[in-house]
């Protein structure tokens, strides 16, 4: 079994929260590390290698040990450095895709046999900001887990990007069979500023990080010895064997020493360890434990500590502290104060063998405002940096919070990670909270189980003969695998559940594509128990059996509801393949400590046949969709999710847009004529995945937001922002990011709380996606939105219909009484009960639209012959829209739609709250542009458009919720008519109410004392002063006398026209005149109200 790649359970770590001094301190400035090493510091016995890049001997090893350097790539020597000269290194890029930095040939003494010290000066160039990991020095090659000996030798030291101009100092040590990955302090990396870092390892598990001579972190991994000697050359300024971690900057006085250099040793430390330092306002029982620890080798005596926080000061006499001992001083944090940053100061002094030691530390404590109700999540499915995530408008990103192997070995819920990782991830969660962001933990224990050959041999799926299938995919019916999944969830919950920033969990992902039938005895038995008979001999694959291959299959293609083969596939796809129960177990574990608010999700949830249950008991199901060739397919995929969620009351739906585009589907071959290439094709011709076009980003957004989804997601950070990536996801369209930013700021943030409270309008057009047909005729979209069923959905959208997707189960459970039209693409085979429901529906006068594949038992009223896409975007769209026109001609004499558009490219959709309509109109008018259009596969350029929209509704007042203004509407004999203009890919959102908005009322007291409670009610009212029967978007701004926004300022959805909020004024809130200003975002009316806060 593979060993864990970091510290084990008994590890003791302490990472300082922040350096006391951003530069090097006055004391530290006296350190020898600031001088050019000479004499014994340069050539002494303990010096293994020293590179000072001195003029005329730049490549020379100044220790005299002969480890002279060879430059790589563009690297060169430079005269500028705090001491000696410098090595200038570079990142590899598309024009110079070569290793950079310098190399010293492998030698025995470069692999220390015990303790050792690494030192290096560095400064960054501005372009470093674009790169993730940049290596200072590397003799290890692998800075990640890999179960091969050559990945577990020697050492490396690098900087990992955490934010703009901030990086974490990281080290990795190889011990032969496995490695430790050691997290150092996060430090400022300001371009042009020189920083000195040192790393010491005592050869027995204890590592320390020093920044500018000051101890900045330590990690202890019990049971470790010296590093394993390796065979790689030593690289300075790049990773040894890769071209993607070059150091964009300068390096100076690099030294490797045997033993621990005396001026890089431990001492007296003060910090807060893994404790939280960011709290939500009014959070109960908030405490910060200040930890005083003895990191020296001597007994500390006579210790005293003074802790100051807010108005209180606490003096503590410390007991004698032996080496490595700690003393904890709990400091209560009052969270009733106004949201802000506060400082916890600690001053500690003690003696060690007669020598005075002291440390002073200022620890920032942050109180953040409580969240507003109904925020709409904007999830980055992946990771980014906080500044850019926030600037674009993301609210969540994925985080990694569990070591599966640790939990597997424990066999029960345990700490999810080694202590230093818990501390680091805890801090990361706190940083998210401070920035107003949240984390979604990605847990995928099921895939982990089979990632190792030995485990795969035991737990993978097997074929009928009992042979282990070659594709990795765990059999989810092993009790120990299910228990493991619960333990993973519970371990995360018990370790990180206290962090408010941990808000959700992605449970497995893309696992069911690789699922397959499994024939362990427990699988057979599980089916036997569920069905009362054995797995039928006929079943060969997971996707069913063609009816053409089944002897005696009913000629009318109607199968009994209890058909043996169908029964098997129902069982398999609901529970039998084990994935849904595994998801449920994780979800149960995640909530085992009481965090019921922690929402779990599974995606891509409709990459399966259309039968309820995908995702098990997760709270949310989601699906990713590529917007090409037609962005309105985003809505089709969303509608499939809603159909799936029908089977799980309370389960909600989110929808992801892929930021990445496959080249194969958009721009497969580089034009031979260079002049015909797009700008990005000239700059990044090899990009395998490119950025979604901006107009597609916009249109896809409107397509999904028009559905009652709970949140939106995006994947492909490296294609959304410039990260320097030249392989994999590549940033090829800078305009896309701006579009998303605009949409999150102008639509999601102000209108999200409203949209989350507005349900769908009851559809009267249904589209059946038949599980029986999928299992017996190979049908189904499997979530790819490419099959004919999906294209039929697009036809319906272009025909200005609002279809609701139904599964067989929905039809059987609910019947079809709510519908007037049933569309049945690819419904070759049906069950008896579905046929009964449809015949009842037809007897009632319901209209059936189908294709040439329809089950002979049903006779359609209208046939829309199927269409197979050619791959030519314009031709395909025209063909499908022509079918929409033809369908309208046949359907319209029998069906009156609620709304219509004069332009076929304008797609309409309604949601409804009470008698208030929310009309979404999106512009699908597109042409080939100059981004990928020249390939003919995607019309990516949106065009302006205008249309007259007619709605079968009388006496309505119309408001543009994005522009925040009333819209003139013409009353006609049939209802209303609106003239609407659209920008490229644009969407519009109108609220149609029975009563006109006449004003905003703010009810609040005029005076209040600091620390008191203030109840505020905002109403959006009609001319009679009655609140509107609608969910109205409202912005509330609460400003203190210095015009600082107070808690609860933000956007609301005023249900039934009202918002109530309760302000808890803080004792330290500013006295004086406050303003509570409410603006309804339908017509833009505002009402300010004054509040005098005085003692």
């Amino acid at each position: 079994m593979r060993k864990l790649h970091a510290a084990h359970g008994a590890a003791v770590t302490c990472l300082l929260l922040a350096l006391s001094h951003p530069g090097w301190s006055a004391d530290a400035a006296q350190g020898p590390w600031q001088q050019l090493y000479t004499g014994a510091e340069a050539t002494g016995e303990s010096v293994i290698a020293l590179w000072q890049f001195l003029p005329g001997q730049e490549a020379k090893d100044n220790s005299g040990r002969g480890h002279d350097l060879t430059l790589r790539g563009q690297a060169r020597f430079s005269g500028e450095a705090p001491v000696g000269g410098a090595l200038e290194s570079f990142p590899a890029d598309s024009t110079n895709d070569k290793p950079q930095g310098a190399i010293a040939k492998d030698a025995d003494d470069l692999s220390p046999t015990g303790a050792f010290t690494l030192e290096v000066w560095f400064t960054a160039k501005p372009e470093m900001a674009q790169y993730g990991n940049v290596f200072l020095l590397d003799k290890k090659y692998y800075n990640y887990v890999k179960d091969i000996p050559e990945a577990n030798w020697d050492y490396c030291l690098y900087l990992q990007r955490t934010a703009q101009n901030r990086r974490r100092l990281m080290a990795s040590l190889g011990f032969g069979k496995d490695s430790d990955f050691l997290n150092g302090p996060e430090i400022e990396v300001e371009p042009g500023t020189w920083t000195h870092v040192a790393f010491t390892y005592d050869g027995a598990g204890r590592s320390r990080f020093f920044v500018n001579g000051v101890l900045a972190g330590k990690v202890f991994v019990p049971g470790r010895g010296p590093v394993a000697p390796g065979r790689y050359d030593l690289a300075i300024g790049d990773r040894f064997g890769s071209t993607h971690a070059g150091f964009p900057g300068y390096l100076a006085q690099v030294r490797i020493s045997e033993g621990i250099v005396p001026y890089f040793t431990g001492g007296l430390l003060a910090g807060v360890g893994r404790a939280r330092t960011v709290f939500v306002r009014m959070e109960p029982n908030a405490t910060v434990p200040v930890i005083i620890s003895n990191d020296s080798t001597a007994l500390l005596t006579g210790g005293r500590a003074q802790v100051r926080f807010g108005e209180s000061t606490k003096d503590v006499v410390l007991p004698d502290l032996p080496p490595n001992a700690e003393q904890v001083i709990p400091v209560p944090v009052g969270t009733r104060v106004r949201p802000d940053s506060y400082t916890l100061s600690v001053a500690v002094s003690a003696s060690a063998q007669g020598k005075d030691l002291s440390v002073e530390k200022e620890i920032p404590i942050t109180i953040v405002p409580r969240p507003l109700p109904n925020p709409m999540p904007v999830v980055m499915w992946g990771g980014g940096d906080i500044e850019r995530l926030k600037a674009i408008g993301f609210t969540h990103q994925l985080v990694s919070l569990v070591y599966d192997g640790k939990v597997w070995e424990a066999g029960k819920p345990v700490d999810a990670m080694p202590p230093d990782q818990i501390e680091q991830q805890g801090k990361a969660l706190d940083e998210l909270l401070k920035a107003g962001l949240s984390g979604v933990v990605y847990v995928h224990p099921g895939t982990w189980v089979t990632s190792d050959e030995a485990r795969k041999a035991t737990y993978n799926r097997v074929d009928r003969a009992g042979n282990v299938r070659s594709e990795e995919n765990v059999c989810g019916n092993f009790p120990e695998v299910r228990e493991f999944c619960y333990n993973i969830g519970a371990s995360v919950a018990q370790t990180f559940g206290q962090y408010p920033a941990l808000d959700g969990a992605l449970i497995h992902s893309e696992v069911r594509d690789g699922s397959d039938l499994c024939f362990h005895e427990h699988d057979r038995q599980a089916f036997r128990e569920a069905a009362g008979y054995d797995i039928p001999d006929e079943v060969e694959g997971k996707n069913g059996l063609r009816y053409t291959r089944i002897k005696g299959f009913p000629t009318n293609r109607v199968v009994p509801d209890d058909d043996r083969i169908l029964g098997f596939y129902r069982w398999f796809w609901k529970d039998g393949d084990g994935w849904n129960p595994l998801h449920s177990e994780i979800s149960r574990g995640l909530k085992s400590t009481g965090r019921q608010d922690l929402w779990s999700f599974f995606d891509p949830a409709v990459r399966v046949p259309d039968i309820w249950g995908s995702g098990g008991d997760v709270d949310v199901i989601s699906q990713w969709t590529y917007s090409y060739p037609d962005p309105i397919k985003m809505g089709q995929a969303a509608d499939e999710l809603f159909a799936m969620a029908e089977g799980k009351p309370g389960q909600q739906v989110m929808k992801m847009t892929q930021v990445i585009w496959y080249r194969s589907g958009t721009a497969p071959k580089l034009p031979e004529d260079e002049s015909k290439r797009a700008a990005w094709e000239k700059e990044k011709p090899e990009a395998p995945f490119i950025t979604i076009a901006p107009d597609h980003m916009r249109e896809a957004f409107w397509s999904k937001i028009s559905r009652p989804i709970r949140g939106i997601m995006y994947h492909g950070w490296q294609s959304l922002v410039e990260t320097g990536s030249t392989t994999g996801y590549v940033f090829t369209n800078p305009a896309t990011q701006g579009v998303l930013t605009e949409l999150t700021h102008n639509v999601v943030q102000p209108l999200g709380p409203t949209l989350l409270q507005v349900p769908d309008r009851q559809a009267d057009v249904a589209l059946l996606e038949s599980f029986a047909s999928q299992m017996f005729a190979g049908r189904g979209t499997y979530g790819w939105s490419e099959a004919w069923e999906a294209n039929m959905h697009l036809i319906l959208q272009w025909a200005h219909l609002q279809p609701k997707i139904l599964f067989d189960e929905t039809v059987v459970r609910d019947g079809l009484d709510d519908y007037r039209v049933l569309v049945m693409p690819c419904c070759d085979v049906l069950t008896e009960s579905v046929v009964r429901r449809i015949k009842d529906f037809q007897r009632r006068g319901g209209l059936v639209i189908a294709d040439e594949f329809l089950c002979p038992a049903i006779i359609p009223d209208i046939v829309v012959p199927s269409y197979k896409r050619t791959g030519k975007a314009e031709e395909d769209k025209a063909a499908l829209q022509a079918k929409a026109v033809a369908l309208r001609q046949e359907l319209d004499p029998f069906y009156t739609r609620y709304a219509d558009s004069s332009d076929p490219d304008v797609v309409l959709r309604f949601r409804q709250s009470g008698d208030t309509d929310y009309l979404f109109a999106l512009n699908d008018k597109r042409a080939f542009g100059d981004y990928v259009g020249h390939h003919g596969k995607v019309m990516e350029k949106g065009l302006p458009n205008s249309a007259s929209l007619s709605i079968q509704r009388k006496a309505a007042f119309v408001y543009d919720l994005v522009q925040h203004q009333a819209v003139p509407a013409k009353t006609t004999a049939e209802g209303l008519e609106l003239a609407v203009d659209f920008g490229p890919g644009d969407g519009r959102l109108f609220m149609l109410t029975s009563r006109q908005i006449d004003g905003v009322q703010v009810k609040a007291p005029s005076r209040a004392r600091p620390g008191s409670v203030v109840d505020v009610t905002v109403s959006v009212v009609d001319a009679k002063g009655a609140p509107l029967a609608a969910v109205v978007p409202v912005q509330v701004e609460i400003l203190d006398p210095q015009d600082r926004p107070a808690e609860f300022s933000g956007y609301y959805g005023a249900k039934d026209g009202k918002v109530s909020l309760r302000m808890d004024l803080a004792a330290n809130d500013a006295p004086g005149t406050w303003t509570i200003k409410a603006t309804e975002l339908a017509s833009g009316l505002t009402k300010p109200q004054r509040l005098t806060v005085a003692p």
């Binding site: 060969e540 996707n543 059996l545 040439e852 002979p856 009223d861 046939v863 004499p893 029998f894």
Partner: protein, 335 residues
């Protein structure tokens, strides 16, 4: 049959049942299509007395009304058979199809005249329905086979495919000795002889009739066929095509080794494969679309010629996406 003729026939039938011209929308205040359809539904709910009105409505100017009428007739069963037989010449293909399906339920020899007519229909939708019904007739008489042979020549590939599948003459029960439940001894692969990757010949067979031209025979002259490699889909080699295609190749074998059996092992063929060795059919791999990535092996102990050059033919059917012999093929000597 032209709509005019069909209309005349229906009108006669309607008059026979005593339906006035007004019911056909020729006089009086015009009802909307929706109203006419609703009226039909109401009448049909009362029973077979509605047949004349439904017959008349088969000529309605609105296609949904016509289709509603034929559906309601079909739901009435035998009493409406005469009306449905008349509907076989309706101008609306969906009306014709509904009538055909109803009259041929269950498919039997009695339905053959209707099916013959339907297979001459100008609309491929009806011909497809007809051939789907024809293949279900049991027993498969000479008359049925002739009908299917006719359908195999149809201009519509969908119709041809159904007929070709039904008429496909090659089948061999194939159970690898390794999977035989009655074989209670260990089987080991003593020797593996890979077949060449390159040098194969390739030809698409959109009409699915290559076997009628004996493309599987060892001596067949395939020199005009294109060359192709295996171990990669045909799309990757420039053939954007879904349907039936044939591979032909040859390979040399050494002297016969000691063996229990010899199998031809395919890494995978996307999707369905039929295999001949030296002109002899040795079996198929037919799991439908599920089979595209499944390895399979066919017993070729008797068909191989050791110490000589051997010829192999593989017919492949691919319904979508990539297709072809995309993984290696080898001879496995079993002991």
């Amino acid at each position: 049959m032209t709509p005019t003729v069909a209309y005349a026939g229906m009108l006669a039938l309607a008059l026979q049942f005593g339906v006035s011209g007004a019911g056909l929308g020729q006089a009086g205040p015009r009802q909307s299509p929706a109203e006419r359809r609703t009226a039909l539904l109401r009448q049909a709910a009362k029973g077979t007395g509605a047949i004349p009105a439904l017959c008349a409505a088969l000529q309605d100017e609105n296609l949904v009304v016509r289709r509603t009428a034929v559906r309601l007739l079909a739901e009435m069963g035998e009493p409406a058979d005469a009306a449905l037989a008349g509907a076989l010449t309706n101008a609306d293909v969906l009306v014709r199809r509904t009538a055909l399906s109803s009259l041929c339920d269950p498919p039997s020899a009695e339905a053959l005249p209707h099916l013959k007519t339907a297979l001459q229909d100008p609309d491929s939708l009806l011909r497809l329905s007809a051939v789907n019904l024809a293949v279900q007739i049991d027993p498969r008489t000479a008359e049925v086979t002739a009908l299917l042979e006719q359908a195999r020549q149809d201009e519509s590939s969908a119709v041809r495919d159904v007929a070709a599948r039904a008429l496909w003459p090659f089948f061999k029960e194939t159970v690898s000795i390794r999977d035989r439940k009655d074989w209670d001894h260990d089987i080991t692969v003593a020797q593996t002889i890979p077949l060449p990757k390159d040098g194969w010949r390739f030809k698409t067979d959109p009409n699915a009739d290559g076997h009628l031209q004996k493309w599987y025979e060892a001596a067949y002259d395939d020199s005009t066929w294109e060359t192709i490699a295996i171990e990669s889909a045909w799309e990757e080699q420039g053939h954007t095509y879904d349907g039936v295609a044939w591979y032909r190749g040859s390979f040399d074998l050494p002297a016969k080794p000691e063996c229990l059996a010899v199998e031809l092992a395919f890494g995978a063929v996307d999707e369905i494969a039929w295999v001949w060795i030296n002109g002899a059919y040795v079996g198929q791999h037919d799991l439908g679309t599920e089979g595209w990535n499944r390895p399979f092996a066919l017993d070729v102990t008797r068909e191989l010629k050791w110490g000589e050059r051997n010829q192999i033919t593989v017919r492949v059917h691919d319904s979508a996406y990539a297709g072809g012999i995309w993984k290696p093929v080898s001879i496995q000597v079993l002991q």
